[in-house]
Symmetry: C2
Subunit: 343 residues, 2 copies
């Protein structure tokens, strides 16, 4: 199961046993860049298999997750999602009421995000370990109308290499903003599963990010964005550091984490920075516009607790956490999966 | 399992318990038309979950199936596939050698079809009933360069309503061509599974159709195309008849079916017309160009055994089979799935 993590084991699986067999073609943002989405011929394209357990959890369900996860992967490239596809694998014996409840949720989030589900597939398999169903959502998007404006603003202050908000686009000095409390999604799921011996009022943060992304692009100055899902912000920051060939310094005290999540993590021996989120945004922005972008995020529904948490520094590929007592430690990407099957 | 068939039970599942919950948006070819792909803003878009059992079978494997199935769904709309996405759900304990063999196969077919796999996702679940893995492939495509020319040729002879090769595009008199032997895929899988008590040399027909589709469009005159996968040609013809509000008459003697497939079907009590194919094309073409299109199909690698099998007639939504002894019977779409988990 560790391979399913989004951490180092998953990287190894993909780098060694999947990607080498797939031929490379000249593509704007290809598979090999391992960004949130690919870009081909101006079309942004992404896919996600959702194997969440349980199907329903405080704050959401597999349906809302499947829509938001995919919409967000398109949005963080600097794009507006224009359509989704949904492939269902259903286990025999799944109650029709459960299926309908999930489809209703997908429909509500399709309505909310204004992204139509235009095509699909449905397969039935024998009862096994799927918890009833797997939903694979894919989405396509077009360049946001505001992306060029956004990049122009950034270019007032420094050269920008990528024309999309890719992981390799950070430079020394860029400011890193987190849109809100981290770890809620993973802890909400864990506390709801049987056998973990604790309860909490933590709700999943599952939410679409396409609106707040557009607002940020209208202000301008963002050079990269990610939604810190599998592997949490520990994974996000390490992706940025290694692909942009920079260092990243983050102040631990600035990272927004709620008390219940902090307590649950201590109880379970988990690092909240390695836990997946489903409605959070991490933005890298040129320092001159950072406060303005922070303001716009805080005005949005999902961004009331947004904070500037750190910045890009010299240094090749390392993420350093400055602790509250003045220490410094390396923040590694998670090796396995601290919380399996949360997305 | 009957719900997984592509027949009437699956229609009922989708029509009653899935589609009604998904909001409708104004889209060129929407979800509700249930075509092989959707079209949004000029982009052709499709998705397929592949739950085939076993993963490897005579003539192919889940990897070749996942690429061809999705490439073909784009092609039959009159489009050229430009990119694929691949989402893997792997069961714990899956041997790395098996994964690599499947990925190598996907890579080979990506190379062969010249369609890059540009984005993906990988999840791991507990061991269950998945036979090791499920692959959901999605693809996007652009309007074929030859589609307008193709429609212009058809319009020399009659009005054409849809600008894509959709299921509702047939009119009385259109000629129906099948590109080759039917039923091979399903029978190859069945004969390879344990416990069916028979063996055969039948190989799956899994093959990409994008090249032959382009050749047909260069000739012109085609009004609709489908690849008769789940539910076989019985399903394909009924989709056409009901959506185009026409009758269809097919001559049983003209339908190409190999002796081993015919024998296996007799032994198992299966109708070869209801069995899924993975490398066959069914084309509806204006009668004046039918022989020319047949010629082009026969020149292609996959079309040596192509035949004109019937035509569109007056009558609302019925498919009639003219049997070899001069009788007539209604060809119904399959109710459940004659052969589950073949795609």
């Amino acid at each position: 199961m560790g391979h399913g993590a989004g951490g180092e084991m998953m990287h190894e699986l993909i780098d060694s046993h999947i990607a080498p067999f797939l031929p490379a073609f000249p593509v704007e943002v290809p598979l090999r860049s391992f960004d949130d989405s690919a870009v081909v011929d101006g079309i942004v394209f992404t896919t996600d298999a959702h194997t969440v357990k349980p199907l329903f959890f405080p704050g959401g369900d597999i349906g809302s997750l499947a829509v938001c996860g995919t919409v967000n992967d398109i949005a963080v490239m600097g794009a507006r999602p224009i359509a989704m596809a949904s492939a269902l694998v259903l286990e025999e014996g799944l109650e029709i009421e459960v299926l309908e409840r999930v489809m209703r949720s997908m429909g509500e989030y399709s309505e909310m995000t204004k992204v139509p589900i235009v095509t699909g597939d449905t397969k039935v398999v024998e009862k096994g370990a799927l918890e009833g169903m797997v939903i694979t959502t894919s989405a396509i998007g077009r360049r946001s109308f505001h992306l060029d404006h956004n990049l122009e603003i950034a270019e007032k202050y420094r050269k920008v290499s990528s024309r999309w908000l890719t992981d390799d686009n950070l430079k020394e000095g860029d400011v890193i903003i987190v849109s809100g409390m981290l770890g809620d999604h993973g802890i909400a799921l864990l506390s709801f599963r049987e056998g973990y011996g604790f309860e909490s009022d933590v709700k999943s943060d599952v939410a679409p990010l396409n609106e707040v992304v557009e607002s940020i692009l209208e202000v301008g100055g963002a050079v990269s964005m990610k939604d810190p899902t599998r592997g949490g912000i520990a994974n996000t920051l390490n992706e940025w550091a290694s692909k942009s060939k920079i260092g990243i310094e983050v102040e631990e005290a600035k990272i927004p984490i709620s008390d219940p999540v902090r307590n649950a993590c201590e109880l379970l021996g988990l690092d909240p920075l390695s836990i997946g989120n489903e409605g959070k945004l991490v933005v890298a922005v040129v320092p001159q516009i950072a406060e303005e972008v922070l303001g716009v995020i805080r005005e949005s529904k999902i961004g009331k607790k947004a904070e500037i948490v750190g910045r890009a520094t010299k240094g090749a590929g390392r993420v350093v956490l400055r602790t509250e007592v003045g220490g410094r430690r390396i923040l590694e990407p998670p090796v396995g999966d601290p919380v399996p099957r949360i997305c």
